[in-house]
Amino acid sequence: MAEFKVGDTVRNTSNGTLFVVVALPRPKDRKTADLGDPRVTVKYRDNPSQVRQVDPALYVATTAEEVREADAAAKAKTKAA
């Protein structure tokens, strides 16, 4: 599993959308009914009210450069509209 921290910006590998990590899986020693939750809680970077609990294997860490580029593209798109 990729090493994510709360607050990291991550990218969905199938659709390229950027998310921010909100919460990490529970530690494995805290046994729960579902054998420890393997999911990472993320929110959409462009719509933080939408929160999803996702499989971290489908997400990769992003670089600061990548985030800057995405923000610039979004800004240009808003301006054009």
Binding site: G16, T17, F19, K31, T32, A33, D34, R39, Q50, R52
Partner: protein, 441 residues
């Protein structure tokens, strides 16, 4: 030199020729006779078959059976005017017809009336008659004393309904509850049931002399703990006294369908307190759509193929009415490249007669798997092998109580139907979910 006798054709004895002619004439005569015999036989058979059978239907089929006579409460015997209804039920609703007949409905109604009037003798007699009719009776339970940790029922009391009446309620309940027919249902007389779970074990291929990595999965368990569900309704005394009224139908449908509908709501949303141990979406991994709240066909494809392959063959789609509407309006392109053929809706209404189990009507198919509408929270779309993902713990038996006094001022008899059940997600990995869907693109 002697002259050689030359003959072009050998001479034939005229007697032989005459004999051959006689044989041929005989064969011709024989053939003509056989033909004539055959034609005569054929004509006779044809005439016989074309002749209509003038016998009465009764003589052909045997005597018409007499309608079933139903004993009335009086000393005489009457024909039950509802006989036709029960005959039709055998054809249209064979499952229910097993537990409904003029006799059993009579005794069920007697049982209901006995309960109403506090007539214990009538209740007992009706219950005995029903057991006699069906050869059914409840098992005797030997459970030992109830303690805080025994897992047995505590503080529950009331009359258990006669089995045929309880079964009729259960059939109605199953028709309203959709998830019940899709999930795994366990029965237990105990209040709780613990189901062991484990993560996947791993096998290895090894060289000679090598040993496998220790791969024993973590063991855990899910505790199912029954919660009480009850519906209460009143019936006027006149209703109960009216012998022609279909009391059994009224009571089984009202109680059964109400309980079934609420069971689905609790399993989908856990709306009440107390509610099921976990909802059907508890612990399920979400698949995020590309643009928040917007469903595209590409998202749907990703969603489906994110479900582990071993669960796809038995997967069922669940969604609420709003998302079903989005799926019906969402279109997919079929064909590719130069052979693009056009678009079609992802979800097309299916033949309404398609059902899965009791109440689960199929709305259509996506990727070859059925779609069922359930009361999931708006914007939710679920796909998974529900039988492996979710388990319902059921209680054998439905309790019923009545009170004359609670409705004294309105001349109403109040009824309470009580049962207990629970549900929990057992294998979260057997399903995936999308949430927050509001529009399509």
């Amino acid at each position: 030199m002697a002259e050689l006798a030359t003959t072009d054709t050998p001479s034939v004895d005229p007697n032989v020729i005459k004999m051959l002619e006689t044989v041929e004439a005989g064969a011709t005569k024989l053939r003509e006779k056989a033909m004539a015999d055959f034609e005569a036989g054929f004509a006779a058979e044809l005439a016989k078959r074309l002749k209509p059978n003038r016998e009465t239907l009764e003589r052909i089929n045997g005597p018409t059976p007499e309608p079933e006579r139903v004993p009335a409460l009086s000393s005489g015997r009457i024909f039950d005017p509802r006989w036709q209804l029960y005959e039709r039920m055998k054809r249209r609703d064979p499952e229910m017809a097993v537990y409904r007949s003029p006799d059993s409905d009579h005794w069920s109604a007697e049982w209901i009336r006995g309960m109403t009037h506090g007539n214990h003798e009538a209740v007992q007699r009706a219950a005995d008659k029903l057991n006699e009719l069906y050869g059914l009776s409840r098992a005797t339970l030997v459970e030992g004393p109830t303690t805080a940790v025994s897992g047995l029922s505590q503080g529950e009391s009331g009359f258990l309904m006669p089995l045929p009446l309880a079964n009729a309620v259960a059939i109605q309940m199953n028709r309203s509850a959709k998830i019940r027919s899709l999930a795994k249902v366990e029965n237990s007389v105990s209040k709780t049931l613990r189901i062991p779970t484990a993560a996947t074990a791993t096998a290895y291929m090894l060289a000679e002399g090598a040993t496998a990595t220790q791969g024993e999965p973590d063991m855990s368990s899910v505790l199912l703990d029954k919660k009480k569900q009850q519906c209460q309704f009143g019936a006027s005394k006149e209703t109960l006294r009216d012998s022609a009224f279909d009391l059994t139908g009224l009571f089984t449908e009202r109680a059964g369908s109400a309980m079934g509908q609420q069971e689905d709501v609790e399993i989908c949303t856990g709306a009440s307190t107390p509610t099921v141990s976990s909802t059907i979406i508890a612990g399920i991994t979400d698949v995020a759509e590309g643009s928040s709240t917007v469903l595209t066909y590409a998202d749907l494809v990703t969603f489906w193929y994110t479900l582990p392959e071993q669960y796809q063959a038995s997967a069922i789609w669940l969604c609420g009415g709003v998302v079903a509407g989005l799926l019906t309006r969402l279109t997919m392109v079929y064909g590719s490249g130069a052979t693009l053929n056009g678009t079609q809706p992802v979800l097309s209404p299916a033949n309404p007669s398609v059902t899965l189990g009791d109440g689960a009507n199929v709305q259509g198919f996506i990727f070859g798997r059925p779609v069922v509408i359930v009361p999931l929270a708006s914007g939710g779309l679920y796909v998974g092998d529900i039988r492996r993902a979710y388990t319902i713990l059921d209680e054998p038996g439905i309790e019923v109580e009545s009170s004359l006094h609670a409705g004294w001022s309105t001349d109403t008899v109040l009824w309470k139907f009580t049962r207990r059940f629970d549900g929990a997600t057992i294998t979260a990995d057997a399903a995936r979910r999308m949430a927050g869907l509001a529009t399509i693109a």
